[in-house]
């Protein structure tokens, strides 16, 4: 199903937005991914993934409060939509299906 297509990075971002429910904005999402997955996230990649998924309807966003350490600029908080949840479920389901289909023989690693 083309409409639920998620890239690997998009999937991680979407999951993290879910994890950080209510607190998910650019900086916190980036920090969380960097901490949990131990990988570097570039601001550009993150922001473009967020906007792309918002356009697809997996995410919605609203402005939050303005704070002084942000130079008076507001935060944009993201939330998963029902469609976003479906996309995630679809993705996880297809992976599990694939995983289950692997024959046991494929995992018998022997030193020949």
């Amino acid at each position: 199903m083309k409409k639920f297509q998620l890239g690997e990075f998009e999937e991680i971002v979407l999951l993290t937005v879910g994890v950080l429910f209510g607190e998910a904005y650019g900086v916190s999402i980036k920090e969380d991914i960097e901490k949990r997955l131990n990988r570097k996230v570039s601001v550009g990649a993150l922001q473009s993934a967020l906007r792309r998924m918002e356009k697809k309807g997996f995410l919605v966003s609203e402005f939050g409060e303005a704070t002084s350490e942000r130079g008076g600029k507001r935060k944009r908080y993201f939330k998963i939509t029902a469609l976003g949840k479906k996309a995630l479920e679809y993705n996880i389901q297809t992976r599990m299906d694939l995983w289950k289909q692997i024959p046991d023989v494929a995992f018998e690693f022997k030193i020949c």
Binding site: Y25, G26, V27, S42, V43, G44, A45, Q47, S48, R51, R52, K55, F63, A66, E69, R70, G71, K73, R74, K75, R76
Partner: protein, 876 residues
């Protein structure tokens, strides 16, 4: 600055709905980064992120297509710029080459200056770390030392509340180190206190920072030394052997000390191994002492505490050792000691004490190179302006047509500015390529290890980007205004004449170019002649055909047998055992008194060299009076040989032989048996100091004087006999003439840098002059045609064309010569032995520049003067 640029950039392309929260995010990252990694890093990161946010999904709606419509004009401008460059390929080439070379030179200077300014700033709290230094005066002997007495560190830590920690180092030795019977000649070995590694945050790879050097026979080594000695083995707790006698345990491995540090050590042996480190001697200054203060502002307080501190701790020993009261000696001016703190960040560039650990850095060099860089860039920019106006007549019709078709003046200015910024970008790209290609040679020349100076996170790229735009704009603004102000009716009729004003401006620009070039040429000529003078000055000893064998103390009591065997070799003229080798900057001094001296402050500080009987013969030292040590005199153990300077300082000019000199305590007394002629036993850049030879055992080196042209044979036979005595220890040697040549490394470096820049300056200036000559001859084309028709000869025409340039260069010379005189006078005054200020060099440099300039103009002038007048006068 970079942050604002980034914000502007983002606002330019980013969708307005997204701008607020993305900028807010970036602001948050900026705060975090600037508190964790510093403001500069955060600014760069901001800009990098802003650039990397240029993604399709974040752009303004229809941004690209809208921009395309707006950019039609811009595209046209680019096209015109490209076409005008292509139409006159040769000029464009000259123009871009000049600018690219200028930029490359500037980038190199920026790299150099940045590196010089970064010294010792990489340590944590580097602004709170200081070295204690002292100005000591003792009779006529003055010392400015970065060394202080051994109890100083301990005592200041106890008594000064501002001092948080103190540590000492001593020595910079080369020792034969062995592990598993593999021998390494290890240099840069020092002795250090445990606290050293608490003060200096050198990253520790193995070991416990709190217990590195707190036991005897321990050593901390650098990573690369560990790799050299142990290969892939874990060095921790392994035992290495020093000079085949002392076992020392490795207790830590540190990262290699960065090159931009004022000390360069590879091994730190614990100070507990030095007996002299705890003898509580306030009167000998031997220990480099670092302190860490609670705040950098406490420096003044600590400096202010030293005078009382001095009275309290020094008085007793001064009284004991010298038999005088410290107060009296200070009051009479016979003795003076001022201790003070030097910020470590300033040591490399500002400190110029005797026996400095690492020489080479000087703030004057940083200033002079920055100024040279600025001027070279200026010369290149001036070229750009002059060439652009020189080609004005070519572009004039284009401007006329554009104006007739409704172009505004501002649009024309935009067009020309864009052209010059475009050229400056092309030049910048070429410059970066040049820098990348030449970086290895630059590193060799400046003795630095710089990698990727431009495109790393802390590199120069943001400055390069901004300067490229500024250079393009600055170089383009004047031609842009000149070109855009042409009146269309006049230019279309073919009357392109420039007012006197523009010519005046150009003349000033040319004078600036040539004064700078002449200054640099005079500078390199002087540095060259001074170095030549030093390298060929009569040394007073023979440096050729001398082989110096190192580490001969390893032979122990076999050393004499080794010497005897070498002496039997017919190729060998003479052999001497002594660790004191001329031109190697060995320091070992102590004060002595004339026989009738009554007070310690009449002491003369002598460089003490221990030598054997064959020393004078081996090094060809000339005797002024008396004799050298000889085996025939058993009494020679209490004899001394002085140099002429020492004799003068003792006041023994009449009949020195047989007179006596006593040690400071008066317990020992020596008879003068000979006077040696002064020779340059240390660097040629220093005054010859009073020196004394004693007959003594100094087994570190053995010098072999051999017959000419037998170098390889001598080396082979010496090595063969070494192997027969040494039992497998490595044979290490140097040739004295090589040691001597190496001692000029710093001066040769300055010379090369200066000449490179002088050549660059004059070539860029000549590129410009070439363009300018083209302009002038173009302007006077008709005049030349008419003169020729009326019968002017070739010579008359050439004189006419040369006259104005000659005048400009003479003015440049008048400006440059006094400046160069002043600067070179200052530079030369650092050398006790120096060449005279030869006026011929000044005149020669000016004439040389004139010659090169006329040669450049000559081509243009010759073609103009030889051209058929018809071609010049015809106007289609």
């Amino acid at each position: 600055m970079l942050k604002r640029l980034g914000e502007k950039l983002l606002r330019l392309y980013c969708h307005p709905d997204f701008q607020e929260d993305i900028l807010g995010d970036l602001e948050e990252y900026f705060r975090v980064n600037s508190s964790e990694k510093g403001e500069a890093y955060a600014e760069r990161k901001f800009l990098v992120d802003a650039v990397m946010l240029f993604r399709f999904s974040l752009l303004r709606e229809n941004w690209l297509s809208q921009k395309l419509i707006q950019t039609t004009m811009v595209k046209n401008n680019f096209k015109m710029a490209y076409r005008s460059m292509m139409r006159q390929k040769f000029y464009s080439f000259l123009n871009l080459t000049g600018l690219a070379i200028g930029m490359a030179a500037c980038i190199f200077i920026a790299i150099f200056v940045k590196e010089e300014l970064s010294f010792d700033k990489h340590f944590e709290d580097s602004d709170k770390i200081f070295r204690i230094a002292g100005n000591l005066k003792f009779g006529d002997n003055v010392f400015n030392l970065g060394f202080v007495p051994d109890p100083m560190a301990k005592t200041v830590k106890e008594e000064f509340p501002e001092v948080e920690n103190a540590a000492r180092t001593r020595g910079d030795a080369t020792i034969l180190v062995s592990y598993n019977n593999n021998y390494f000649r290890q240099s840069n070995i020092t002795w250090a206190d445990q606290e050293f590694f608490s003060i200096f945050s050198i990253p520790l790879l193995r070991g416990d920072r709190n217990h590195l050097l707190d036991e005897p026979n321990t050593v901390v080594i650098t990573e690369s030394t560990a790799k050299k000695i142990f290969g892939s083995e874990d060095p921790l707790n392994k035992v290495i052997r020093f000079n085949d006698e002392l076992d020392i345990k490795v207790t830590g491995v540190i990262q290699d000390i960065p090159d931009n540090t004022h000390f360069k050590y590879n091994m730190f042996v614990t100070m507990l191994n030095r007996a002299d480190a705890r003898q509580n001697m306030w009167l000998s200054n031997n220990f480099t002492t670092y302190v860490k203060l609670n705040a950098k502002e406490s420096k003044a307080t600590v400096d202010g505490r030293f005078p009382d501190f001095l009275m309290k701790h020094f008085a007793e020993q001064v009284n004991q050792m010298m038999g005088i009261k410290l107060e009296d000696a200070v009051a009479s001016g016979a003795l003076a000691a001022t201790y003070f703190l030097q910020p470590i960040e300033d040591i490399y560039l500002y400190s110029n004490l005797d026996f400095e650990l690492r020489s080479g850095g000087s703030i004057e060099n940083v200033y002079i190179f920055s100024i040279i860089g600025f001027f070279i860039l200026l010369i290149a920019c001036i070229n750009f302006m002059n060439m652009a106006t020189a080609r004005a007549s070519v572009r004039a019709k284009e401007v006329g047509i554009r104006k007739v078709l409704g172009s505004l003046k501002s649009q024309l200015i935009n067009q020309f500015l864009m052209e010059s910024i475009l050229s400056s970008f092309i030049a910048a790209i070429v410059a970066v390529i040049m820098v990348t290609l030449l970086l290895p040679s630059f590193n060799t020349l400046t003795d630095k290890q710089i990698v990727n100076p431009i495109f790393s996170m802390t590199g120069l790229w943001p400055y390069l980007l901004i300067s490229t735009i500024i250079i393009g704009a600055l170089a383009g603004i004047y031609p842009a205004f000149v070109l855009s102000s042409f009146s269309p009716s006049k230019v279309l009729k073919g009357e392109v004449t420039q007012g006197k004003k523009a010519g005046w401006m150009r003349n000033i620009l040319v004078v600036i170019q040539f004064s700078t070039s002449i200054f640099l040429i005079i500078g390199s000529a002087f540095i060259y002649s001074q170095l030549d003078y030093l390298q060929h000055k009569e040394l007073g000893f023979n440096k050729d055909q001398i082989l110096v064998v190192n580490e001969t103390q390893l032979l122990g009591n076999q050393l004499q047998a080794f010497k005897t065997e070498l002496e039997r070799n017919p190729l060998v003229e003479s052999v001497s055992v002594s660790g004191f080798i001329p031109a190697t900057n060995t320091y070992n001094d102590s004060p002595f008194l004339a026989e009738n001296a009554t007070s310690a402050d009449e002491g003369v500080s002598l460089q003490i060299w221990y030598v054997d009987q064959d020393y004078a013969k081996t090094y060809d030292l000339k005797l002024a009076d008396g004799r050298f040590f000889s085996k025939e005199f058993a009494s020679d153990s209490t004899s001394m040989v002085l140099n002429e300077t020492a004799i003068r300082r003792f006041g023994y000019t009449e009949n020195p032989i047989g007179r006596r000199v006593k040690s400071l305590s008066g317990n020992n007394s020596y008879t003068i048996v000979g006077v040696i002629k002064d020779f340059h036993f240390r660097s040629m850049t220093e005054e010859i100091q009073p020196q004394v030879f004693f007959l003594g055992n100094s087994p570190d080196n053995l010098s072999v004087k051999f017959k000419a042209d037998m170098t390889n044979e001598v080396l082979a036979t010496t090595k063969a006999s070494w192997d027969s005595f040494s039992g497998g220890k490595p044979f290490e040697y140097d040739f004295l003439d090589q040691i001597f040549a190496d001692s000029f490394k710093n001066q040769i470096r300055v010379k090369t840098i200066f000449s490179v820049f002088a050549v660059l300056a004059i070539s860029i200036a000549c590129l410009g002059l070439f363009g300018l000559a083209a302009y002038v001859t173009e302007q006077r084309k008709k005049e030349i045609g008419i003169r020729k028709v009326l019968g002017a000869s070739m010579a008359t025409l050439l004189t006419l064309l040369f006259r104005s340039f000659t005048f400009l260069i003479l003015i440049s010379a008048v400006l440059a010569i006094p400046l160069a005189w002043w600067y070179m006078d200052g530079w030369l005054s650092d050398f006790p032995f120096r060449v005279d200020m030869n006026p011929l060099i000044f005149i020669g440099s000016a004439l040389g520049t004139l010659f090169i300039a006329l040669l450049t103009v000559g081509y243009q002038s010759m073609t103009a003067a030889r051209r058929n007048p018809i071609e010049n006068l015809r106007n289609e």
